[in-house]
């Protein structure tokens, strides 16, 4: 506890002393009568200002929440002595907003009687937060002394991005060898009907299509597509972001999309990996199951933009994070040259790539004068040319803007791949 005298104490002592001195010098008892109350209040304040021993504890009703959820913080205050004037503030980090309750609050605390304050907080943005930084300031009844204390408790709150609605997922061009829920394009043992072919020695009898065999007067067997799993790598571009005045930006959207995609693919028993490609490179090797979902989401909420001028390309990404035949879903604002080049490089290496462009356009104003507007138009044209460059090499690029459903954009990618040819890039 830091104790210090309020400016009022010095002023009252000064007024008292000055008045008494003036009364003595001028020989006017009226001045002594005016000065005496100030001196008395100061004296009483010094005598009646014992240090209040205040203890504060903070507890959250849960440790994990989704963006937009509300959590309750409970502040418990105790003091050995009665405190007439106590200011309490729970310092809220950006991204956490107060919904209900008083913060900061001015209250009175009875001695030895705990007091609990409840605050409803809304998690506006995903991320890892540490709550529990509480500042208390107590004053004696005459407000002559101030006691300040800052309590730093570690109440962790993990706020996960709220997932987008997504019913259909993007099917990969090629599947892996393990069983899963994705119908493979290859023919083999499975349930999904693929084709008919003439019987060859070694075929199982139960695969014979008797109706087709009777019609053609020869044995024909059914061929089917096997159900396989896929490897999906979510490639998150964290070099730069565009941020609007409302506090949201392309990174927020990108993290939300990445979490949604990872969650949905993991539900389908696919293996999902994560590459966070930016100033700091972070990755998760592909794996499956709910544990992997937690790993991915925990990794995503620690994502931040780290400024870096160092050139980075596909060589810095560990090889094991990009297994062969993996579907790479890039979530990027397509603002940084390094990410753009790396994605083209991945495509050139034969990876199945789709780009979900988190559009920075709504966050950029065209400008007021003619030159600014011209620059803005040129920038938009350059972005269109970049998209065309991706499409020429067979990479679908869909533009996802805030307020539009991600599902529609994923459907666009599926439609593109249905009609586009799998191109080879030299």
């Amino acid at each position: 506890v830091t104790r210090y005298a309020a400016p009022k104490l010095g002023a009252y002592v000064g007024l008292g002393a000055f008045g008494l001195l003036a009364a003595l010098v001028l020989g006017r008892p009226e001045l002594a009568a005016i000065a005496a109350p100030f001196a008395l209040i100061a004296g009483l304040g010094v005598m009646l200002a014992p240090e209040p021993r205040i203890t504060v504890s903070v507890a959250l009703d849960r440790e994990r929440a989704l963006a937009g959820d509300e959590v309750t913080a409970e502040l418990e205050l105790r003091s050995r002595r009665r405190v007439e004037h106590l200011e309490v503030v729970l310092v809220l980090p950006p991204g956490i907003e107060l919904v209900e309750g008083r913060n900061p609050v001015l209250l009175r605390l009875n001695g030895r009687e705990p007091r609990t304050l409840q605050l409803r907080l809304r998690c506006e943005r995903w991320g890892g937060y540490v709550l529990g930084d509480v500042a208390v300031r107590a004053r004696d009844p005459l407000a002559l002394f101030t006691y300040e204390r800052r309590r730093r408790e570690r109440s962790r709150l993990r706020v996960y991005p709220r997932p987008e609605e997504l019913r259909e997922l993007l099917p990969p061009l090629e599947t892996q060898v393990f069983s899963g829920n994705q119908v493979s394009r290859a023919k083999g043992e499975g349930i999904e009907f693929a084709d008919l072919r003439p019987f060859v020695p070694g075929d199982r009898v139960r695969r014979i299509n008797w109706r087709a065999s009777a019609r053609r007067r020869a044995l024909w067997v059914n061929e089917s597509h096997p159900e396989r799993n896929t490897d999906v790598i979510v490639f998150l571009d964290t070099f730069v972001e565009a941020r609007g005045g409302t506090g949201t930006g392309t990174l927020d959207m990108a993290v939300r999309a990445a979490a949604t995609l990872a969650g949905r693919y993991l539900e389908r028993k696919d293996r999902v990996g994560l590459v966070s490609f930016g100033g700091v490179l972070a990755w998760l090797l592909p794996a499956t199951g709910p544990v992997q979902l937690y790993r991915v989401v925990e990794s995503l909420i620690d994502t931040e933009i780290t400024l870096s001028y160092a050139w980075k390309d596909v060589d810095v990404i560990p090889r094991r994070t990009l297994p062969p035949k993996a579907l790479i879903l890039a979530v990027t604002p397509l603002l940084d040259e390094r990410a753009v080049a790396t994605l083209l490089d991945l495509r050139a290496r034969g990876f199945d790539l789709a780009v979900i462009e988190v559009s920075p356009v709504p966050f950029v104003e065209a400008g007021k004068d003619e030159l600014d507007r011209l620059a803005h138009r040129l920038w938009l044209m350059k972005r269109r040319a970049l998209r065309a460059q991706y499409e020429r090499v067979g990479v679908p690029v869909v533009e996802w803007q805030a307020g539009t459903p991600l599902a529609a954009r994923v459907e666009e990618v599926t439609a593109f791949r249905r009609h586009a040819r799998h191109a080879r890039v030299s």
């Binding site: 000064g14 001195l21 001015l106």
Partner: protein, 161 residues
């Protein structure tokens, strides 16, 4: 309002140099308003000192006997100082619990009433003939020096904190 009332007292009592009194209380009021508007707590005691100086000067122009209204003036100064510091405290955006403002108002009212009683007592005490002389003057000087010493000590503590 309290400051205006305290400013009116010396001007109303003065029979000479009214312009000087008006200027003096004007400076006091201006300092007071500046302190409240800009959140400068140091301006409050200086405003009180200037208004108090104007009142002290009014006791001499012309020279009068004991001012029976001095306890009211003393209570007014205490009320002015308390309300000023409270106003400065309220500049911090904070949400008070119900009853906090009322409790503080009661405390200020009690302080004002106490000031009125104390000043009346102090003024009444001057009517008691205790005699005078060098010893009494010496005691007074020692008390004043002691008070200034306390001021200096507190100022030093505040700076150290």
């Amino acid at each position: 309002m309290v400051a205006a009332a305290l400013a009116v007292v010396p001007v109303a009592r003065a029979e000479r140099l009214i312009g000087l009194f008006v200027a003096l209380v004007g400076v006091g009021l201006a300092g007071f308003v500046y302190g409240l508007l800009r959140g400068r707590s140091w301006a409050v005691p200086w405003a009180v000192v200037v208004l108090g100086a104007a009142y002290a000067a009014s006791l001499f122009l012309p020279e009068r006997g004991l001012d029976r209204q001095a306890p009211l003036v003393a209570a007014g100064f205490v009320l002015l100082a308390e309300l000023s510091y409270w106003t400065l405290e309220l500049r911090v955006p904070i949400s008070p619990e119900p009853g906090m403002l009322e409790r503080r108002s009661m405390l200020i009212a009690a302080a004002t009433l106490g000031a009125l009683l104390l000043a009346s007592f102090a003024l009444a005490a001057t009517a008691v003939p205790l005699g005078g002389g060098a010893l009494a003057d010496l005691l007074g000087v020692i008390a004043a020096i002691g008070a200034l010493g306390v001021v200096a000590w507190l100022a030093q503590r505040e700076r150290a904190a």
